[in-house]
């Protein structure tokens, strides 16, 4: 038997690689717990903890997963800060996203809303661009019957495993922000007529898929990925090198700010410190990672 080299793909669960180490840590911790509990509490509680833990572990992989989550350190918390005062409604973010991810007609990872507000000079509307918010508590991932969509441990980006997704669209009903799109297999004329454009692969998830009938992502649910294919090996973006989410890179009014919300010196964190902001539908407890400056 030859050893197979496993390739890490963007939609591979980060927990997968470090699961073994995490397991070791857990067993050590459990042993410590065991001894401390032995001294602190009676044997009855002890027995229930052991049996309970063991049963949970063997029955539910969820339990193991949640332990892994704690073991794997979150490196980044990528998010966006969108300045509604700077957005001019040019919609170049929508186009840039399409050009970058080669999304077909009917699929648009980001859209621009227009809200006419009364009593504003010249009826100036408010524009608002809306990508996926990559929520801290995404309601879409928990409902997936096959765990095809999940929040990456490393950087909090919510992704879809195109090979695993069965296309039931439950996640689309569960998203309160309509950030998910079903790929019906429709194409723009340039692809339909098989011009050279049809041969250009989509860099999404670094999978470089060419558009083919009935092959994933056709029949899958698709969504914004914060252009994660532009990350380097460590998961970092670089604005100077152009490795930056397409919508933020192209924004003519410089309204879309992107960055790591964990980094106290990043553009986004500074903006959130200095300006007033809001998030959409806070009451649902999703805790979006996209903020709107007002």
């Amino acid at each position: 038997m030859t050893k197979k080299k496993t390739k890490t793909t963007p939609t591979q669960r980060d927990g997968d690689t470090s699961a073994k180490d995490a397991g070791k840590n857990i067993s050590v911790l459990d042993r410590k717990d065991f001894i401390s509990k032995l001294f602190k509490t009676g044997a009855g509680t002890l027995a229930t903890t052991i049996v309970g833990n063991g049963m949970l572990k063997s029955v539910s992989s969820l339990y193991a997963q949640s332990k892994d989550n704690r073991a794997v350190k979150r490196k980044f918390r990528y998010g966006m800060v969108i300045d509604t005062r700077r957005c001019v409604g040019c919609r170049s973010c929508v186009l840039a996203c399409k050009a970058e991810n080669k999304t077909p007609s009917g699929v648009s990872y980001t859209v621009v809303f227009e809200e006419i507000l009364e009593n504003r000079p010249n009826d100036k509307p408010v524009f608002m661009t809306k990508p996926c918010f990559h929520c801290e508590h995404p309601p879409c991932t928990d409902v997936c019957p096959v765990s095809a969509t999940f929040k990456r441990e490393r950087d909090g980006i919510v992704v879809v495993d195109y090979e695993r997704c069965i296309g039931c669209r439950y996640c689309m009903t569960a998203c309160p922000y309509s950030a998910r799109w079903f790929d019906f297999g429709e194409n723009y004329p340039a692809i339909e007529q098989n011009t050279p454009w049809a041969q250009v692969p989509s860099p999404e998830y670094k999978q470089f898929r060419k558009r083919k009938n009935k092959q994933s992502p056709v029949g899958n649910v698709r969504k914004c990925t914060f252009c994660l294919h532009l990350q380097d090996e460590e998961g970092k973006y670089n604005k100077e090198e152009g490795r930056w989410p397409a919508c933020a890179k192209t924004c003519t009014g410089k309204a879309i700010h992107f960055g790591d919300l964990n980094d106290p010196n990043s553009e986004v964190t500074v903006l959130l410190r200095e300006r007033q902001y809001m998030r959409l539908k806070e009451e649902l407890g999703t805790s979006p990672n996209c903020y709107y400056l007002i």
Binding site: V143, S147, C165, G167, P176, W181, F182, G185
Partner: protein, 420 residues
């Protein structure tokens, strides 16, 4: 009126005509369904009219409808096999058979709805125990297995005794008996015990899995129209109503029809009436709480139901045809005539389909963020949804498939024997 009476008195002629109508309808539905499935297989989802806003359409509504019929008729059958309710004994087997057929119809409907039909098995291989949909799938798989085994033990004795005939039917019985040749009275008693155990285990499973279908919708906090604690219970109730109603219709057609099953049909009619009234009460409660609460996001879905472009589904289909007329039929002296009760059953069963549509579509057709559907121009981003021709055709095909199974079952499966 007297002409009609005369017509129904000549039973043989009526039965012959009805059979012709039945098989013609079945063949037509299958033919139309063939087109629907052909389009689905060849073109995928392109010819379907749902989109990224109303992302579940006719096929999902069809799924929850058929699966409700299944759970409902199974629970009716458990009255016979668990609680030993003698009045329904004649249609016990028929009810379990109905549960199996409608379950198969439901699975076909949801299978067609998947983006990748070939990946349905992923649910078993990549389980997510947090997902209500995953739980629902595990539970109905278990349920399907259970009713298949239950049907086998219900009919095994008949198969084993019939297998000796050298006719075509005998050969089929031999196949269906799975090699069992034991036709003693003891084996019959043993089968009865097995059936009772299976049926008992089936009750919690049927309640869990159909409550689970309701929970699948109920847990979605993003859709205020669905997000209600009443939902799992409302699903169960509607399942019992539609299942019972369908059984009144089915038992007036199959197993010697309305003349022999008169008592059962009338008794079922009473049960269905009570359940339907309870169902109406639950629905009224949903509306009252939503409107008195008055949160715009919550009432938006109900507004669509009551006064949206498809309000006729609620007022005409679900309300008048599916609720008011059958309630009157079941209250007035028509309640004593099996044919009128069967008609009421047909109307109720059809009406509940309107109810299912009114659950799925208005819940999704409300813009989640104001202005979303005008932000980009695409027919996939449209709050108005009406099923396409191929969607209707595929669903028709599923109905035809169900009719075919019933027709074959009537021809091949053993009839209920009168005790002498």
């Amino acid at each position: 009126m007297s002409l009609l009476q005369e017509y129904f008195n000549d039973r043989n002629k009526v039965v012959k005509n009805l059979k012709l109508i039945f098989w013609t309808a079945c063949a037509l539905s299958l033919l139309i369904g063939f087109y629907g499935w052909f389009v689905r297989i060849v073109d995928g989802h392109i010819k379907a009219n749902y989109g990224s806003i109303v992302t579940w359409g006719l096929w999902v509504a069809g799924y929850i409808y058929f699966i409700g019929l299944s759970a409902g008729s199974f629970l009716v059958s458990s009255l016979v096999y668990v609680f030993n309710y003698k009045k329904f004994e004649r249609i016990g087997k028929l009810a379990v058979f109905t549960a199996l057929v409608t379950l198969l119809m439901a699975l076909l409907s949801i299978w067609a709805d998947l983006g990748h039909m070939g990946r349905a098995w992923h649910v078993i291989v990549f389980p997510n125990f947090k997902s209500p949909m995953a739980w629902m799938i595990y539970l109905y798989s278990l349920y399907m297995l259970l009713i298949a085994v239950e049907i086998y033990f219900l009919l095994r004795y008949d198969f084993a005794t019939g297998a000796n005939n050298s006719t075509f039917k005998g050969k089929i019985y031999k196949l269906l008996s799975l090699g069992s040749k034991d036709s003693t009275e003891e084996s019959k008693q043993r089968d009865k015990k097995v059936v009772k155990r299976l049926a008992t285990a089936g009750i919690p499973i049927a309640i869990l899995f159909h409550g689970g279908v309701g929970a699948l919708f109920g847990v979605v906090s993003a859709r205020p129209h669905w997000h209600s604690g009443l939902f799992p219970i409302l699903f169960l109730l509607s399942a019992l109503v539609s299942g019972g109603a369908l059984l009144t219709l089915i038992s007036s057609i199959f197993q010697q029809g309305w003349s022999k099953n008169k008592g059962v049909i009338i008794e079922l009619g009473k049960m269905v009436l009570a359940l339907l009234l309870l169902d109406v009460l639950f629905q009224v409660s949903e509306f009252l709480v939503a409107y008195r609460g008055g949160i715009p996001g919550h009432t938006a879905g109900f507004d669509l139901v009551l006064s949206g472009p498809y309000a006729w589904v609620f007022w005409g289909w679900q309300g008048l045809i599916g609720t008011v007329i059958p309630i009157l039929l079941l209250i007035f002296p028509t309640r004593k005539s099996p044919l009128w009760v069967a008609l009421a059953g047909l109307l109720i069963a059809a009406g509940i389909f309107g109810l299912r549509l009114n659950i799925v579509i208005p819940g999704l057709a409300v813009e989640e963020i104001h202005g979303l559907t005008s932000a980009i121009y695409s027919h996939r981003v449209d709050p108005h949804y009406f099923p396409s021709i191929s969607e209707w055709a595929l669903t028709m095909g599923i109905v035809g498939f169900g009719m075919l199974l019933f027709g074959l079952g009537e021809y091949f499966l053993p009839k209920h024997e009168e005790k002498t």
